[in-house]
């Protein structure tokens, strides 16, 4: 099996609390892997470590076959990893459109020398970026608020923007931290379809934290279950649902029909 992300024995403590405890798991290239678990299980913390936002206390994280433990987020981005945040991290004083336009990496206009001495090239590239951002914003049904400051968007709109970022670049591994929370279900259907398309047509790998079981059930195979900082199970959704312990701890009873 070909693991894009391979987490080996990673731990993270916050003060007295062990958020992630010697956790190992891996994500296969080209898969849509789900990560579920009760609140406070350490899922987001694990994401933060994989994406370089926090450094693990111990353990290693492999990405594309290389040890990336302790690398900065922007370095991981360069290697093709992009993440979204559970609590939307918008650029609140920039418009929705600009929020998307800033995403593509290595824009020539991001170098001072280029902006000063090669304005033509910068402008051409920027026009392309803008077009792409406009397309994405249309897809997300946010066209009417493209000039609104992102800080003024509604909770769900911010989440959509968060998701839109993933469509702005050719990252081949995307980490999604609860994109569905607060997003309208109808729109979510479209999003799910889009994720599936990116996965099958473009070969993106997705690693998805989600509490929405419908979505997990529709998209993910395999599903990894975390509890108290450790991986406790992995397998297809049906298998997970059949495990009475997980159902008790996570789904609560009565289980709703999927």
């Amino acid at each position: 099996m070909d693991a894009v992300i391979d987490v080996r024995g990673v731990s993270k403590r916050f003060g007295g609390l062990t958020a992630v405890n010697n956790c190992s798991l891996s994500v296969e290239r080209g898969s849509i892997t789900g990560l579920i678990g009760p609140n406070g299980a350490g899922k987001s913390t694990l994401f933060n470590m994989v994406a370089g936002n926090i450094v693990p206390d111990s353990g290693t994280i492999m990405f594309d076959g290389a040890d990336v433990t302790g690398l900065k987020p922007h370095e991981l981005f360069r290697r093709g990893m992009l993440r979204t945040f559970q609590i939307a991290h918008e650029f609140s004083n920039m418009t929705a459109l600009e929020n998307l336009m800033m995403v593509p990496g290595d824009q020539p206009g991001e170098s001072l020398l280029n902006t000063w001495f090669r304005p033509g090239r910068v402008a051409a590239n920027d026009a392309a970026v803008r077009q792409k951002a406009l397309d994405v914003i249309d897809f997300l049904k946010l066209a009417h608020v493209k000039n609104e400051l992102a800080g003024n968007l509604s909770g769900g709109q911010k989440k959509l923007l968060e998701l839109g970022r993933t469509m702005m670049v050719d990252a081949h591994v995307v980490l999604l931290d609860e994109v569905a929370a607060g997003v309208n279900k109808t729109l979510l259907q479209d999003l799910a379809a889009n994720i599936e398309r990116m996965n099958t047509e473009l070969g993106y790998t997705f690693f998805v934290i989600e509490h929405d079981m419908d979505l997990i059930g529709r998209l993910c195979d395999p599903v990894i279950v975390m509890a108290q900082g450790e991986k406790i199970a992995e397998g297809p959704m049906e298998e997970i649902r059949a495990n009475p312990e997980i159902v008790e701890a996570y789904f609560g009873s009565p289980v709703e029909a999927a």
């Binding site: 370089g52 936002n53 987020p73 993440r83 991290h89 004083n93 336009m101 800033m102 991001e110 400051l149």
Partner: protein, 426 residues
Amino acid sequence: MKRSLLLFAGLFVLVILVGLATGAPFTSRLLVEAAAYALIALGLNIQWGYGGLFNFGILGFIMVGGFATMFVSYPVNAAFWGSDGPMMLGRALLAFGAGALLVIGARRLDRFGITGKLRTTAIVLAWIFAYILYRSQIDPAAAYIESTAGFVGGLGLHPVLGWAFGGVLAAGVAYIIGKICLGLRTDYLAIATIGIAEIIRALIKNMEWLTRGTLTVTPIPWPTPLPQQLQTMGFDPSSSFVWARLGFFALVLIVLVLVLVLLHRAYGGPWGRMMRAIRDNHIAAGSMGKDVTGRQLEIFVLGSVLMGIGGAMLVSFTQILDPNSYQPINHTFLVWVMLIVGGAGNNLGAVFGAVLIWIVWVMSDSVSQGLFTIVSNWTEAIGWGAIPDITTRSVQMRVFVLGLVITIALRYAPRGLLPEVIRRER
């Protein structure tokens, strides 16, 4: 756009009024200083307006620039170069280098498998040893130079080179400060930079062998002809002032316009967008592939360069390097007031604020005297008697006038007179 045209027209009228009231020579002086401050305010705008970096150590960079231009342009001190001073300084420099190597070596110990407490101890010891080594060389050298030649003197080069060196030196200092402090959160960065500025001030003030400390260095040459020189060429005194200062002003203006054009290009494009993104949310920006610390350092250095150049210009213009005249109130805070009143995040706003506040600051002297005379006449008229010590007391009120202008301006334009423009699509 309309608003800025209107405001700049108003500013122009204000300058004309000041000119009528105070005469052309004084106004030309005011313009030169205002332009230099505009450059400094632009530097701060880059740091705060673009980058959200709370630099309250502007004073330090202005001072570094001032020292640089003094060092480059002040005439060569033959007494120093003819003495043992250069040799001793050379040794001190070597000691400094050796100490630096030692520290760097200690920091790299982890490559040899020495980590943790042991490495930390080694680093601390290296620092201490390097400090002692350096002090053992520099202290006698400093004492020797101070007692024989007075101070090192300058290099006797052209002042414009001095400005450039001011920029470079400020960049170097900013780089070091940035490396240490940029990880701090906003308010903490502010107080840390204030502190570092105070340390720079203490150094420049007390390194007499290099800066003459509180004894001041003067007169520092001009890049353009001085009024005296114009007078020997046949100008009458009053117009010699105006023309000499206009010459200086032209030079400053060229730099200012150049900087404005470059900044406009950068800030309007993807670079500016990236910087605003980092300012708004650096965690997200990092996850979107932007090298947050690197870019913040870039912006901190770039802004500091402008402050250094501006500071160099001011020293060139006043022809004196006097560490005592650098006070937070009339450097750091004044520049902040300029930027916030003008409009953070807007280059034209920064320039506008700089000129406006500088005029207010300079004129507050006469304005408060005028105000006072009016009040005094009034109290006299209603029988309370005139205010005693009117001249001496009224100048105390100049800070009051400045304070009043600040609070009124902010009250009616909390985001600045020319606020940051939100870049909306049509």
